[in-house]
């Protein structure tokens, strides 16, 4: 594995690699490489993935193989050209083949087995796919109407699959055994047609109402005998009947759950409420499925409308025109809807009542009278939605909102109709208990299921309007509701049974089955009729009569029908709910439904393709009898189970069962279940909450972390030459962002700035900053110099981000110190936020940058810098001075606050910059010193370093990594043009050094940090820059000297040794790590300033300053360091 990652990392590093580092690196690469490689060029990826070094360690080998397999498994999701994918795949396979044999035998078998399974799965999948029907047809529809309409057909196909399974279940376990082994027709009472009906058994009228021969057939519940065992094999038909009934529910339930889970997973990502209106309208507008010129034209027009709409909405967001009119219109519309709802409920009740009276008065009912109720109900359900749609136009809602309203209203309508129907029927049953044809229980069941279904459908349809995927979910939900309701219904029906059956020799289950089947048939007829009459004829009329009409039929009144996805899906769900409910009473219902769905599929697809429209609906249901059916003689249907247990199982089993089913056991169990449900729900709720939190976190981290990692990788890959070109650009882009961050001038900014210093860090910090200050122009921010509120908000983000950021740094920097460096980074971030000083430093940073680049509006920048940041800069200056270094060993008392006050801010700033500058430069000897001062400084530094060396114990530790990073940053900012290459080189060096140094530095610097936390507060209080300056200065003094030393050391090993000794001398190792980073961050700022402006005079002044007030500085430094530490922690 290590070998695999190495090539990618690049040649720059040949240090000992900790395994962990490698793996981290590799992982990061693996994750992001796929989407990165276009930038980096393919070479790295191929090398990384394919090259494997022989390793003797079996564990490593195994991991290697696993890794290769992972590649193989995921190769298809890599955005590479096929050629490369094939190549990588081949190599990975070869490696697996080559090394797999060396593994232990069991592993070999395991893998071989897995391979075999995979192959089998693939073959199976290939076979199964060929049986998916209507692929071409759906594709054709898709190409004409896009994904929305196609989703209806996909849903239909899915339902079709479910019904096939249901058919197989009922057919093979209930219908076929009964046909083959059951008592033949005419042998028992339940299987013979009563004599009084025999004459009319073959009448079309009877057949049409599913009476006569049909009634006494396997179609219905009543036909199945209650003999415990049938046939020679002793098939327990009643048990099978019951179990199949349950299995049908269970299967549908599970299928629905799975679908729902899948859909919810899909919709999870889009659950956020972020507003990307325009983005989505642009980037997600085109439906790539469209492959028809007419449809493409429509789509194009729709997109234009959509975008215009968005523009208008955007423009009119503020002004609300004619609000009063709109509100009154909407009130009116709602009143109309309510009126129509109430009217429909009344009509249904009235019709039921009337049919009841008619039945009592007349012995023979006409066809119309028989079907009056169902026809009226279906008419209402057909017409009302259209009326609602008309009303909705009054309201002038956004189309999406209006669709939601429409669905909600339709749902309420369905529910209202069903409930009124049920109530009316219950009334009817009660009033004529002698011969109720429809059992109330069934009705309630159906109604509840339908209502639940419809509700779900409405939701689904809303989503579907825009997306097809949602439909399935809603259906699933509905089904589930149906299931539960059905089960309860069946249970409910049992008690009713006694009332209902009375003298009726017809069993009510058969009656229910008949009703359901009848409903299904009528529904189908309605569907077909509506498709043919309404859509087809309308289409014909519109197309052929438009020429002889005075208005344009195609675009004005009749138009072509429109495919109403939501309502059609609702209808499908309704239909399926009927099947589920009726399947128990009519085992052949699923089979019928299969046929129906097939027909629907063809008819609908044809209608959609030819005339572009359809829509409608229906419904019903009922309960068990004592003289017919497999459960006859049993009080409750599920007694079949206890019966079976009692008679067919050993005695002990029934005993156990009786105990288990006793209330003593059942009640606690039920309680327990409730508790469990509650508990699970609570957990789900909390999980949802955390999920939300995590998602928010991910959102921020994903984007930013990715970028960071990418940039790191890019930095690595960039060869010095190539990097030279890129760096300037990066710097430029970075600078504005930095400026923006500075302007925000919140404590957070400091953290970001520190990040900026190292190339990797930079990008991260910059991005975070920009995000916080999103939308605001960089320049504006700079000019204003005011702190922006976003910055404050950003804080949490920064913290979150810090971790990711730190990692990248580690990668770059060093292996050994990665852990520490991470912590350090965090520390660094935090302190800035706490300290006001940090803010000040930022301005300096900017200033320097600007000064360096005349192109930028220098005046603006300068003003900003001076105004708020002069103080901090001065502090830095003091710290940076060389003298302190010498003294540093002894004490940190060099910071002159007063000096700052005395001197003009500008001067102070300059000084600081100079100091810093020289340090970085010293580090990189390659760069010729730009200003004399800088050179001088270098020399001084070197000298001091030498001195230190002497004084030091003589340990030759490596230079601090942090300073190096900072230096890099400086170079970028100030010296981009001049020495990009140099800086790059420096980076590399730095990185190498950093690895080792990070840890050490942290330790060394710790001493400084120890001081009290009060400093931060003090700093903040300090209104003037000067005051703050002193506080900061102490730190910097320490740091700067050390850094300068480090710099020198990098260039010259000797210097390094000195620095190290320095560090070692200051023994605060524990705290050090955090403090170091902070220091480094501050140092970085300083450095930057330096590089930009190098003023000889300023240097001198600084030195003086430092000399004057060493003691005060000392104290201040202490406090500062403490603050930093605290903040970091």
């Amino acid at each position: 594995m290590s070998s695999a990652s190495e090539p990618v990392v690049g040649s720059s590093r040949s240090l000992l690699a900790a395994k962990r580092h490698r793996t981290v690196r590799k992982n990061s690469r693996r994750i992001y490489s796929a989407y990165r490689d276009h930038q980096q060029g393919s070479s790295d990826e191929e090398g990384g993935d394919d090259k494997e070094v022989d390793s003797n360690d079996p564990e490593e080998m195994f991991q290697n193989i696993q890794y290769q397999k992972e590649i193989i498994a995921n190769i298809r999701s890599r955005p590479w050209p096929m050629r490369r994918k094939l190549k990588v795949l081949k190599q990975a396979r070869e490696i697996v083949l080559k090394y797999e044999g060396q593994l232990t035998r069991t592993r070999g078998y395991q893998t071989a087995g897995a391979d075999l399974l995979k192959k089998l799965y693939r073959v199976l999948y290939n076979i199964v796919v060929t049986f998916i029907p209507w692929e071409v047809r759906i594709k054709k529809i898709e190409s004409h109407f896009g994904s929305g309409v196609a989703s209806y057909f996909i849903f239909l196909r899915w339902l079709f699959g479910i019904n096939i399974v249901l058919t197989i279940m009922t057919g093979s376990f209930v219908v076929l055994p009964e046909l083959l082994a059951g008592a033949p027709f005419g042998t028992t009472r339940s299987k013979t047609i009563p004599k009084e009906h025999l004459a009319s058994a073959q009448d079309l009228d009877t057949i049409w109402s599913l009476g006569g021969y049909l009634q006494y057939s396997v179609l219905f519940y009543g036909y199945y005998g209650s003999v415990r065992k049938i046939g020679s094999a002793g098939y327990r038909l009643p048990l099978a009947y019951f179990l199949v009934g349950m299995a049908v529910f269970a299967y549908s339930f599970i299928i629905l759950l799975r679908k729902m889970a899948k859909n919810s997973r899909l919709s999870l990502a889009s659950a956020s409420d972020e507003n990307f209106t325009f983005c989505w309208r642009v980037f997600c507008a085109w439906d790539y499925l469209i492959g028809n010129p007419e449809a493409a034209e429509c789509k194009g027009a729709a997109i234009v409308n959509n975008i215009r709409e968005a523009i208008v909405e955007e423009q009119e967001k503020k002004k609300d025109t004619s609000l009063a009119v709109l509100i009154s219109l909407r009130i009116l519309a709602n009143i109309l809807v309510l009126l129509s709802l109430a009217g429909s409920i009344y009509i249904i009740y009235f019709v039921v009542d009337r049919s009841q009276k008619l039945e009592q008065e007349k012995p023979e009912l006409t066809l119309w009278e028989k079907n009056e109720v169902s026809v009226v109900v279906s008419l209402i359900t057909m017409i009302a939605p259209s009326a609602f749609e008309l009303v909705a136009q009054l309201e002038m809602y956004h189309p999406r909102t209006s669709l939601r309203f429409q669905l909600a209203r339709v749902l309420v309508l369905y529910l209202g109709n069903l409930y009124s129907l049920i109530i009316a029927l219950l009334d009817k049953v009660n009033s004529m208990s002698s011969a109720p044809h429809v059992s109330s229980s069934n009705w309630t069941n159906t109604s509840s299921t339908i209502s639940s279904l419809s509700a779900q459908v409405s939701r689904i349809s809303v989503s579907e309007h825009h997306n097809s995927t949602m439909a399935t979910i809603s259906t699933a939900i509905n089904f589930i509701h149906n299931r539960s309701s059905l089960i309860t219904a069946s249970n409910q029906t049992i008690p009713f049974e006694k009332n209902a059956r009375s003298q009726q020799d017809q069993c009510w289950e058969t009656y229910v089955g008949q009703e359901m089947l009848k409903l299904s048939i009528i529904d189908m007829i309605f569907t077909v009729a509506s498709i043919l009459l309404i859509d087809f004829i309308r289409g014909l009329v519109v197309r052929y009569l438009s020429d002889c009409c005075c208005w344009d039929l195609e675009s004005k009144f009749p138009e072509y029908g429109e495919f109403k996805i939501a309502e059609n899906v609702l209808h499908l769900i309704y239909n399926q709910g009927m099947i589920w409910m009726g399947a128990f009473f009519s085992p052949c219902l699923p089979a019928f439904n299969v046929l129906k769905l097939i027909g629907l599929m063809y008819l609908r697809s044809w209608a959609v393709l030819t005339c572009n429209v359809p829509h409608q609906q229906v419904f019903r249901a009922s309960r068990p009898s004592e003289h017919c059916g497999p459960f006859s003689g049993q009080e409750k249907i599920y007694d079949i189970i206890s019966d079976t247990v009692a008679s067919d199982f050993p005695l002990w089993f029934s005993k156990v069962m009786s105990y288990v089913t006793s209330p003593v056991v059942v009640l606690p169990a039920v309680l327990l279940l409730f508790m469990l449900i509650y508990y699970l729900q609570a957990i789900a709720r909390s999980l949802k909450f955390t999920n939300n939190q995590l998602r928010i976190q991910l959102q921020t981290e994903r984007t930013e972390d990715k970028k960071k990692v990418f940039q790191m990788a890019a930095a690595r890959l960039q060869v010095p030459e190539a990097s030279a070109d890129k760096n300037p650009d990066q710097q430029e882009s970075d600078i504005p962002s930095q400026e923006a961050s500075i302007h925000t001038s919140s404590p957070q900014q400091n953290g970001s700035i520190t990040n900026v210093q190292s190339p990797i860090n930079r990008s991260n910090s910059i991005r975070t900053i920009t995000q916080s200050a999103s939308g605001a122009d960089l320049n504006e921010g700079c000019v204003s110099g005011s702190v922006r509120s976003p910055a404050v908000i950003v804080l949490p983000k920064h913290q979150v981000e810090h971790l990711p950021n730190s990692r990248p740094q580690h990668f770059i920097g060093g292996r050994s110190g990665s852990c520490r460096s991470k912590s350090c980074h965090h520390m660094a971030y935090n302190p800035p936020s706490d300290l006001s000083n940090a803010i000040h430093t930022d301005p300096l940073y900017r200033k320097t940058i600007r000064s360096l680049h005349p192109v930028e509006a220098a005046g603006i920048i300068a003003a900003q810098n001076y105004g708020g940041r002069c103080g901090p800069t001065t502090r830095y200056v003091i710290v940076n001075e060389h003298r302190p270094r010498k003294k540093l060993l002894c004490s940190t008392t060099r910071i002159p606050r007063h000096y700052l006050m005395e001197e003009p801010r500008e001067i102070l700033e300059l000084y600081q910059r100079n100091i810093k500058h020289y340090t970085p430069r010293t580090i990189h000897q390659q760069h010729p010193p730009r200003s004399h001062t800088s050179q001088q400084l270098r020399k001084e530094e070197e000298e001091t370093g030498k001195d230190r060396k002497r004084t030091s114990l003589g340990k030759s530790l490596r230079p601090c990594s942090l300073p190096d990073h900072h230096q890099q940053a400086h170079f970028y900012i100030g010296e981009r043009l001049d020495s990009f290459r140099e800086s790059q080189r420096a980076r590399y060096e730095m990185q190498e050094d950093d690895e080792e140094e990070a840890g050490k530095e942290g330790i060394d610097w710790g001493d400084f940090n120890l001081p009290s936390p009060s400093q931060t507060s003090v700093k903040e209080k300090e209104s003037s820059h000067t005051q703050r300056q002193p506080v900061h200065s102490p730190r910097r003094q320490y740091q700067s000297p050390t850094r300068t030393r480090h710099m020198g050391s990098q260039l010259k090993p000797k210097l390094r040794g000195q620095l190290e000794t320095h560090l070692t001398e200051s023994d605060s190792a524990s705290i050090a790590s955090s403090s170091d980073q902070q220091n480094s961050s501050t140092d970085q700022y300083i450095h930057v300033i330096h590089s930009k402006e190098r003023h000889l005079g300023s240097d001198v002044r600084q030195e003086k300053m430092s000399k004057k007030k060493p003691k005060t500085n000392f104290d201040l430094n202490y406090t500062e360091s403490n603050d930093l530490i605290c903040s970091n922690v």
Binding site: P81, S270, N275, Y288, V304, T703, S737
Partner: protein, 187 residues
């Protein structure tokens, strides 16, 4: 089977199945679709990896693509020469990414490339303008286009550099409810 076997070896088919989201049958179907574009150019034997490229004019005339305003970009992005001339491998790549099974990230990556007209790895204003003009067939006025571009960048540009990077784009597209269903070609 015998006939099919001569087109690809079993290993080839296996590799293609590993590298795409297609089944055997679909791969063969795609091959035939590809071949039907230019029967005289495409051999029936692909076991020795013939170097055949179909020009963009042929690819763009497929019914699946011919009405797509971005067809040229799609072909360019997926072709190795960047000009829309596609080998069978490119062809398979294209439809694999656009298939139903392809994950969101992969689709987003290629969608980004498709909308990045100037191939600079950023969607800048000029890219957006082109996208919009193609999408709306130049029906929007310049002002409207300008405003929409500004709004888009305003909404999705996280780092305020005035253009959309891949990360910005993914961030945005990952929240789009319609993206998966619309960035999809059923073949």
């Amino acid at each position: 089977m015998g006939n099919k076997q001569t087109i690809f070896t079993a290993q080839q088919l296996d590799a293609y199945q590993d590298c795409t989201y297609f089944t055997r049958k679909e791969i063969l179907r795609l091959f035939y679709r590809y071949r039907d574009l230019a029967p005289q150019l495409v051999p029936l034997d692909y076991t020795n990896h013939p170097d055949v490229k179909l020009p963009y004019e042929l690819i763009g005339s497929m019914p699946e693509l011919k009405d797509n305003p971005f067809r040229q970009r799609i072909a360019e992005v997926f072709s190795e020469d960047g000009e829309g001339n596609m080998t069978l491998d490119n062809f398979l790549d294209m439809f694999s990414v656009l298939s139903e099974m392809a994950p969101r990230d992969l689709k987003a990556y290629y969608a980004f490339k498709i909308y990045d007209f100037n191939n600079d790895d950023f969607i800048c204003k000029s890219d957006l303008e082109k996208t919009l003009n193609k999408l709306t067939r130049n029906e929007l006025t310049e002002d409207e286009v300008k405003m929409v571009c500004e709004k888009v960048i305003d909404e999705a540009d996280l780092d305020n550099d005035g253009r959309l990077s891949l990360e910005d784009f993914q961030h945005m597209i990952n929240r789009a409810p319609d993206f998966l269903s619309t960035f999809h070609i059923r073949i």
